[in-house]
Subunit: 177 residues, 2 copies
DNA sequence: ACGCTATACATCGGCCACGATGTATAATCC
DNA sequence: GGATTATACATCGTGGCCGATGTATAGCGT
């Protein structure tokens, strides 16, 4: 997820680590703060994999900056990760949001629609959080207000996202199944 | 998060690993499947910490079962973790939902309300996913439909949860700030 | 007869994330 | 004048999570 965010932001413009960090903090930081000690090793991994290169520039106000720029391979890799996301990136809202943030970099509307359809299929599967044996328990019959809350909130989110997905798929010219 | 789920389910009744796993899968599995190779080491950690004990029973249909039962210390630890959640458990919806699922085990409504108030404070903070410099970018002006979607969905979720939080706080007899 | 699925546990290696800590400089606040 | 904050990088150790793999037994379909 972190690597996807790095590739996504650098796809738009070369950045140095510090600015990159602030972008990532804005995108996911309120939910899951990104530690510097996670970001810098991640940058190193991507560099080692040949997906980005560093150029050292004298620092504007402090230490010298390492300006990070995606290689052509890095640009291909971002598009690949966007087009073929892992199932976790479809199901986990945190990861899904990161993917959505950069989905515009897939130039083919059909490929974009295909990704949205995977999310749609996931949301259309019936899922409950609690079961009585095999029978799913609805929000009305949950035995405490907190579990009711989970079901209520999840349902509201799901409804909003389904509406948005269907609208967006339609405007992408997707003909449905 | 996993440990909290284990403690939470065992607080209600002793279970063996396999059933515990199915409960956890129902609670969080559609978003983030729980691997057996994560569950069993987690159980071991909790056992080593003195929070639960195992009793081996002959297996009903297969291998012998290890029935897991919380110790008094384990029960105290669950209540402590519920009453004093880490900030991540407040901000990350996945973790927050697990916490909510077991909040009923805090017997004091005041303590329950205090936890909900922390989530309320978090949701009331203004947060945007994207910035133009320091200025947050709203859903209307986001430059692509996918980023618009993120903002739209997040807003819908937030609105639903805020309504539920205020209702529930009121019914817990919370007088507000 | 054979394979598949469910029950029921367990280990191992690798990767990744995080907190703590370190090293500088420059600006701002009190 | 001293402390704090922001900029800008980096390492290290701990520990969690995961995929792959292993070991059994029992039932069910074909």
């Amino acid at each position: 997820m972190l690597e996807l965010a790095i590739l996504g932001f650098l796809y738009e413009a070369p950045l140095h680590g510090y600015v990159l960090r602030r972008h990532i903090a804005a995108l996911t930081g309120h939910v899951k703060p990104v530690a510097e000690s996670t970001l810098y090793p991640a940058i190193k991994r991507l560099e080692k994999a040949g997906l980005l290169v560093r150029a050292t520039e004298p620092g504007a106000v402090a230490a010298p900056r390492h300006v990070l720029r995606l290689t052509e391979e890095g640009r291909r890799e971002l598009r690949r990760r966007l087009a073929e996301p892992a199932q976790r990136e479809i199901t986990d809202e945190n990861q899904w949001f990161v993917l959505l943030a950069f989905l515009r970099h897939l130039e083919d509307p059909g490929a974009q629609a295909a990704v949205l359809r995977r999310r749609l299929a996931f949301l259309e599967e019936p899922t409950s959080f609690f079961y009585d044996g095999d029978r799913p328990i609805g929000a009305e019959e949950a035995d405490d207000p907190f579990r009711q809350g989970i079901l209520t909130i999840a349902r509201a989110t799901s409804r909003a996202e389904l509406a948005w997905l269907r609208d967006t798929l339609a405007s992408l010219g997707d003909v449905g199944r």
